[in-house]
Amino acid sequence: MSLISLRDVQFGYGGQPILHDVSLALEQGESLGILGESGSGKSTILRLMLGLARPDQGVVEADGSVLDIRSRPRMQAHRRFVQPVFQDPYTSLDPRMKVRRILTEPHVALDLPGDAGAEAARVLDAVGLPADSLDRYPRAFSGGQRQRIAIARALIARPRVLLADEPVSALDLATKVRVIELLTELARDITLVLVSHDIAIVAALCPRMIVLQQGRIVEGGATRHILRAPQHPYTQRLLASLQHMPEETP
């Protein structure tokens, strides 16, 4: 049984088709990278997996049952099952809330067991931030630290799936490396779905990947196989463009 899956999903905004017949399934502990250019439908797949939108056709299944976003109890359970991390750490934390409140909000709203304060301290420690961060506002933190707080918020529900939408693209190189290290560590226990247009990040974090072009999956399989011998011309172009890019220096 798949942990989370999309079956023959079609989706569009205002009559504009975004996804065409997308099917994918994730097993427990199997991290997946979704690679594609801007506008290819990567983030839409995450929105469907999060239950923030309903497919026009096809179904999203999670934890063994079809995801019905109109059912409040089903969605409450789904919120505990899957959590997101967003691209921009500067817009993903409410500037008017202290870190303690940011972290305990999901714990209280999802009626999770245990003491919310103790759980907040636990996840903060898990992402490598000091306990005194709890009583500070997001403005007191750098971009990388804010992204760690966003990851901590996602972890407080103890989700089985973590959906990360370009989680390091807004960070500088040194911070990027630290956040990737953190995600690598987390991916040992949590199934990670990573959306990125950066092949290197996908290769570092995900043993499996799919390549999305204009809302269609054009290639999928083991990341190392795809990187070594891409079959689809679009994937070949993406990889070729990476080889032509100047190397980053630390």
Partner: protein
């Protein structure tokens, strides 16, 4: 500088509030009775002189502060409540409803407040403090609703709202916990600025006879009644004019100070 604005504003508004409260329990003279000779210049007995009926002018200016603040607070509360509610609802409404609401607000904003007040007066028993508050409040609510709609849409587009939805919060709670606190600083400043405009609008309505009826000594009414004696006794225009200017200036300074104080990016970590 932000503290200076705040302090100047707080002092000017504070004096007006103190005077308005004082009039509830004490007045130097009976505002409706003759307290001295007609059109007397300022003296120790009559700080702002007397009007053409011999009534103490300073006493009437003090009462004017109470009326200005009553209308300002009433209109700000009414406009703030209606404007915020409409603005938030509009931001959540589907495209067609949102467009219709936006068009209605634009028409209301384009509608002159004085004309609206005349309509409200015509539709009610006559001019009163209530009609002035209602007319100014409705005009203010349209401006605030449009601002709140834009601010709410901007907040709703932030990732922390999506995170809140993924944390299991319903829309009602998201509005209370995330939207309102984040739009509050800008809305409060806008309400404060509108408060100043409401005080001016009330004076204008009273000047035209559409505000509080006599014997309520509104500043607009004092200006109107002193118009015919402005060359003989200019203090009759200067005293309510200065009071009006001081209150509006104070409110604007206070709004400026509040805006800086409530900005989360400027506060301490």
């Amino acid at each position: 500088m932000r503290r200076t604005s705040l302090w100047i504003g707080a002092i000017l508004v504070g004096i007006n509030v103190a005077v308005a409260l004082l009039t509830l329990v004490w007045l130097p003279y009976d505002p409706t009775a003759m307290a001295g000779g007609r059109l007397q210049p300022p003296s120790w007995a009559h700080w702002a002189g007397t009007d053409r009926l011999g009534r103490d002018y300073f006493t009437q200016v003090m009462i004017g502060a109470r009326i200005a603040l009553t209308v300002g607070i009433g209109a700000a509360a009414l406009g703030g409540l209606i404007g915020t509610t409409l603005g938030v609802l509009s931001a959540f409404a589907q495209r067609g409803i949102d467009d219709a609401l936006a068009a209605t607000l634009d028409i209301l904003i384009a509608f002159p407040t004085l004309l609206l007040a005349m309509l409200v007066v015509a539709a009610s028993d006559g001019a009163s403090l209530g009609t002035a508050i209602l007319a100014i409040g409705i005009a203010m609510s349209a401006i605030l609703a449009r601002l709140v709609r834009i601010l709410t849409k901007r907040v709703l587009a932030q990732d922390y709202i999506t995170a809140a939805r993924c944390s299991g919060l319903g829309w009602g709670r998201i509005v209370l916990v995330h939207v309102l606190p984040n739009i509050a600083p800008t809305v409060l400043v806008a309400i404060a600025l509108q408060f100043g405009l409401a005080v001016i609008a009330e004076a204008s309505l009273s000047y035209l006879g559409l505000g509080a009826p006599p014997p309520n000594a509104s500043w607009g009414q004092l200006l109107q009644s002193a118009q015919s004696t402005v060359y003989n006794a200019p203090i009759g225009v200067i005293a309510p004019g200065l009071a009006l200017m001081a209150l509006v200036l104070g409110i604007n300074f206070l709004a400026d100070g509040l805006r800086d104080l409530l900005d989360p990016e400027r506060g301490a970590a």
